[in-house]
Structures are given as C-alpha cells and as structure tokens.
Point group: C2
Chain length 405, copies 2
C-alpha cells in the first residue's frame, strides 16, 4: 500500500509540493478555503503555478473536509505565516493547521512543517497543541520535522525538484523517514542538526534578501537626492568581481516582506537588540512613500489641478511574473494617489477576482494618455510590446525604480 | 620618449600600480613617508605585496623630493583616505597630494585620483586646490580623471591585471587618454559616464560588503543569545541557490571600515537620511565590544582572580593574509583585555616594527598554556599547524567568530 500524505494548506507552497509527491504517494490536499478547493477540483490554479493538464493528470484528492484526512501516515503543513497590521506574527493559520492535524493523526504519524517560522516555534506548536489535543507523546507516539519551503514564485529555474531541500527531525528516526520522502522529489537533501537550525536557516535567507534590497533602496534615495543616475552607478559597481546585483524595488508578498518580523518578534521577546534586520524592514516597508513623494513632485511640476493629472500605475502584483497581490506596495501607492489624482491601474497577470481591489483598474488603459506613468514591473509575458512613451503626454514623467530600457 | 607617470602615495594601492605601469612607462613613486621611500629603495615592501626581486627588476624611481616629480605628463594620486577619531573624513593627505601635484604639474598634465572619496570630491579638489594653486583651467590647461582602486590586500586572485578597471574623465579627451594608460595594465576597462558615477560606484561596493558583514554579525549575536550554533545555521542557509556567503568577523583596515563614513559625511551635509549604511557601521564598529563581553563571560566562569587568567589573542592584523594593522579591532580587544587579564598577543604576518603596538606580543606564545584563546584569524601561511587545543588549559575556552575547524 502506498503511504498517504496529507498536505495542509494548498497554496503557493502546498500545491507544487502535492503535485510532486503525488507521483510517489497517495496525496490529499486539504485547505479550509472552500473556493480554492473548488477551483482545484476544476483543475484551475489561480496562482498560475500549475497548468490545467498537470492538475488533471495528478491523482491528488482536494478537500476541505476534515474527515478525509484522518489517520494519515504523514502530514505536511504549508500554511502561510502572515503578520497582523502592526507586523506582529499572526500564527492563527499555523495553530489551526496544528489543531487539525492533532485531531486527525494516528499513532506513528509524521508531522512536517514547511511554513516559515522563528526558531523554536515548530517544537512549541508540537508541545502546546499537538501533544495536548492528541494525547500522543513526541518521539514515542509521533515524529516531528521541519523542512523549510524554498518556493520562489515566478521563478522557472529554481523549482522544487532542482533545489537543495533542508530537512530536520525530532530524532534520528524522524530524520531518516523525512529524508526518504523528500529524496523522491528533490535532487539534493541537506540534513540540519536540529529543528531550530533548519528554522533559523530559512529565516536568515529571507532577511538577507530584505536587507540587501533595503540597502540598494537607500542608495537609490541617496543618489537620487544627489542628482546622480543610480542605474549607471549600479552598472559600474557591478563590474567588481564580488559586487552583489540587487535592484531597488518595492518589497511585498508573503515572504521576505513578512518573515523578518517573525525573527524580530522573537528578539523582542528575548530582549535581544537588532539593528540591521529592523532597519531593513523599515526602509523597505516605507519605500512606497518615497515613490508617492516623487510622483507628487512630478505632479507639482505639471502645475495643474491634481484632479486633472492623469496617472497610470503599471504593475500591481507584489513582484514580476507572479500574480500574488498580498502586501503589494503598488496597491498602497494606488490607494494613496487615487485620493488626489485621476488614477488608472493595470496589471496583466493579476487574477480577475483581484482586479476590484485596485482603484480604476482598466484593461484598456492603453487607449488613454497619461501625465505620469509609474512602472512597478513588466511581466516577462508582456514582452517588449509596452512602449510607455507612446501613451505619455508631452512633458509627462515616466518613472520607475528599476531601469526598464 | 616614454610618458612619465608620477604615483603620489606608494602604499597598498600605489606600489602595485607603479610596478605594473613601470613595464610601459617611466614611473616615479613619490611618498612623503621617508622611511617607506628608503625601504623601497632597498627593495623592501613591508606590506608584503611585492617581492624583493620584482622591486629590483622594476625601474621605478622612489623619492620624497618634490623636485623629482616636476612637469610630469601624468599624476596618479593613491594616498589613503582615513577618518579622524570621530569618524569624520580626514582629507589632509588628499589635499596635500593635490597641492603637491598643483605645484609640480605642467600645462596638459593629466591628474587621476584613485583614492576612495565621496561623489563630487575629485571635482572639488580640482577646483579648490589644483586650479587655484596652478592657475591652470580644467579641460583647457589640464585633464582630470577618477579611476577607483580595487586592490584587495591578501587576495592573490583578483590582482590589478585581472580586474575590470573603472575609468572616468573630465571630458572625452581625458577619458580616451586615461583609458589608454590603464588598458596597458588591466584586462578590461569600464568607462563610467562621469567622475561622480565612478566615485559613487566605488563607495557603494565597499558599503555593500560592510552592511552584509554587519548583518551576519548581528545574526551571530542573535543566535548566540538563543544558544543556537550559528555556524551550522550558516551552512544550512548556504545550500540555497542565492544565499550570500558572508562570515561574521571584525571589520577593520582602511577600506570597508572607513569608506562608509565618507558617504555618511556627505549625506549629513546634504541632510539625507540614512539607516542601512549607518547601522552597518554601528554594528561592525562595535563588534569588538561583543567579543570582549564574551571573553569576560568565559573568564567569569573560570572564577579566578582576573590577573591569573591567561588569555591569548591570536591574529592581530585587520584581516587574514594581510600584514596591515590599521583600524584592527583585534588591537582594540587586546588593549581592553590587557588592563584586566594576563594577556599574550601574537600574529605571524605582522611587521616587526608594528609588534610593539600590541600588549605582550610574544613570538614564543606557544610555550605557554592559556585559559582563553581568541582566534581572530589564521593566515594561510600558518597552515594547519596551529593546534590551539594543545595550548589550552583543561576547562579553558577556545573562541572565534568564524569556525576554524
């Protein structure tokens, strides 16, 4: 009999994982989002990661019914770990998933977390929720693992099968069993010495990106104030053998814009001082304000009634080649500018159901002319057909943080 | 007749440059440091960059006599740009070098700066010193260039001839002429569009390293407080395709520990807010205090009279494989610990004349045993012969920021 694996949370992380595992195991995809389950049953992935045909081929059973996931040998939890308004970790999805697993697991189940957490959280959830509800004892009655997801939405190169997958377990037996599962679907497995080492490794990867983007964002602001072309500076610096190529941009999404707050939550609790991690978040989280400032400056130069100034925001998802709009700073910019100017917004990758979240989203945006165009990003599928100059009024401003030429 | 090139400042940057150029031009190496000139005349480079034989072969004329450098076609200024105690840029060497050039140049001279500066400084020095003293006019009577040095002391791979050399000039003629000179000695030339772009490129390269090391230093402190082995975390994280491999360490020297202050000086003047650049400096500049704290904690555990606790600081230069002790944080640590403990210091690469700058420098350090050994770095030439465990007392502490196993 094939091992049964339940994936709890079938979003950006869970779905590709379910698809890969379903080639070797009986896989059940569980999600509390009824809509998502319904769509997947109809072979539609609005995240545009998995094609219709692949979903049809796979034998994954999608469900939101807790009865369908009882007594499974393996549970893999891949729910998002977002933050509340004030950037405090919102653990409710993780806790709910843990409860669901605790209620449905059997003796000898293996529970693996893939969600990004701060070090110690996996063990804490196991102790405070799984052991309490199930009455099972860790390592005696069940095994625990942490294997951080490294899904990079929109990245066609570093896919699940090609990356090095970190695994860790609550004891040697757990490590062996978890390693066996992931070896089927990932080319290389790296065993971390503890759950906490694996948790820490994941969170510092994301923070390192956040801080490096924050640094170029700060550079961008400094050199713009000095009236120097930052793009030229970056190109020159990039000729050094060890210069790291990061571009200024609006950090959003569910990953590098959020995960640092998880570590910051822990360091606050433990009264450990941080400076780099918190500054990185501060710079990146406020970058949209700088863009708004710049757009206001352009508008002032046009010296019209603001309500007559036509502005286009092009590119609304949190990053290029990804339809995800969670924590999109483009959205924040749109909401601010909408109050003052004649605003149009557009993105070619966004799901139809998300369009209404943006003010004046217009499919036919290119039939108008604009005084100011802010280009957040251009998706690869848009190709080079977008000639923004053509829809820009004379004396208008075409603005973007990166150079799109 | 061969073109005559004067190098002003023949230290870590000037000497390798002089050696390379001397294969194609008549080169004069000028330095106000009488000792340095005398040593070089005797074919001795205490920086250990250039071997005796190479110095003998070269036909460079070393001098501290201003009369020897009159009416040269090209002047290249490579003096250090240090900071004063409170981290304000100390431009005195740069100004003195500019005065020296202004007094000795002729009509049509080309003046190139290689020293790291903040954007705008090259043009400012030309206007405020060179034009004033020489009475020549920029671009009419003389040409100006900026070509940032990318010398990486101790690095045998990225040497002058192999790197991409950025050049920039005050006009097209300057660019052409400067490009011609450097094409002789560097494999690839990159022309930046202005002096300021070239100046900015150089300074952001160094700041990027400083900030990335500051980030891992902060991580190191966080995870040490959480009792997690940071070395294991780094190794696990390094399995991600885009993780950047930086190690915690004591940033010192004349480059990445100093240059950020140059940009910070300018941003302060211009009232531009910085967060990443300043935090980076703050974390790295205080890292030695953290090391002292840790050593104090170890010492407390040994619960002896501090004066009886034997401590060895191994590795005193500011970085591995480089005899330079400028801004060495190992020195700061030694000075603090020396007041309290029975301290011994040692470094295998340091010049004999520098030894007295460290408390209780002992060539025969390995004849004693120690309660605490702090290993800052192990130079490549030391090989693996250093078995610190052999000279460590039972229950003693062997401590280092990096993992030297």
């Amino acid at each position: 009999m094939k091992k049964k694996i339940v994936i709890v949370g079938i979003g950006y992380v869970g779905l590709p994982l379910a698809i890969s595992l379903s080639r070797f195991y009986e896989v059940i995809g569980f999600d509390t989002n009824v809509n998502r389950v319904k769509q997947l049953k109809n072979f539609k992935d609005i995240n545009k990661q998995i094609l219709r045909n692949k979903l049809k081929e796979s034998k994954i059973k999608f469900t939101n019914n807790i009865k369908d996931i009882r007594h499974s040998s393996v549970y893999i939890i891949t729910v998002p770990t977002p933050v509340y308004k004030k950037n405090k970790p919102n653990l409710s999805l993780l806790k709910d998933a843990s409860k669901t697993v605790a209620k449905t697991m059997r003796r000898k189940s293996i529970i693996i977390y893939e969600s990004t957490v701060y070090p110690g959280l996996t063990r804490f959830l196991s102790k405070s929720i799984i052991e309490k509800i199930s009455k099972f004892k860790l390592n005696k009655d069940f095994l625990l693992g942490y294997s951080p997801e490294r899904i990079n939405p929109g990245d066609k190169k570093n896919t699940l099968n090609k990356i090095v997958k970190i695994v860790s377990g609550s004891n040697e037996d757990a490590v062996l069993k978890i390693k066996e599962i992931y070896s089927k679907i990932c080319r290389k497995i790296y065993v971390a010495n503890s759950l906490e080492i694996a948790e820490s490794a994941k969170i510092i990867e994301n923070i390192q990106r956040d801080v490096n983007i924050a640094l170029v964002n700060e550079f961008y602001k400094i050199f713009s104030e000095l009236n120097l072309n930052f793009d030229e500076i970056l190109k020159a610096a990039a000729t050094k053998w060890n210069f790291l190529k990061f571009n200024p941009g609006l950090v959003g999404g569910h990953c590098i814009g959020v995960d640092p707050y998880y570590l910051l939550h822990l360091t606050k609790l433990k009264k450990i001082k941080t400076e780099m991690v918190s500054s990185g978040r501060n710079v990146n989280d406020n970058m949209h304000k700088y863009v708004v400032q710049r757009i206001n400056k352009f508008a002032n130069k046009l010296s019209k009634n603001p309500k007559n100034i036509k502005i286009l925001i092009y590119g609304l998802t949190y990053k290029k080649d990804c339809p995800d709009i969670r924590n999109s700073q483009s959205k924040r910019i749109s909401n601010i500018l909408d109050k003052k100017y004649d605003l149009t917004t557009f993105d070619s990758l966004i799901d139809r159901s998300d369009e209404k979240q943006f003010p004046n989203f217009k499919k036919n945006y290119s039939k108008n002319n604009y005084d100011i165009i802010f280009v957040n990003h251009v998706h690869t599928k848009d190709g080079k057909k977008y000639k923004f100059e053509k829809i820009l009024n004379k004396n208008g401003f075409l603005y973007s943080l990166e150079n799109f030429k």
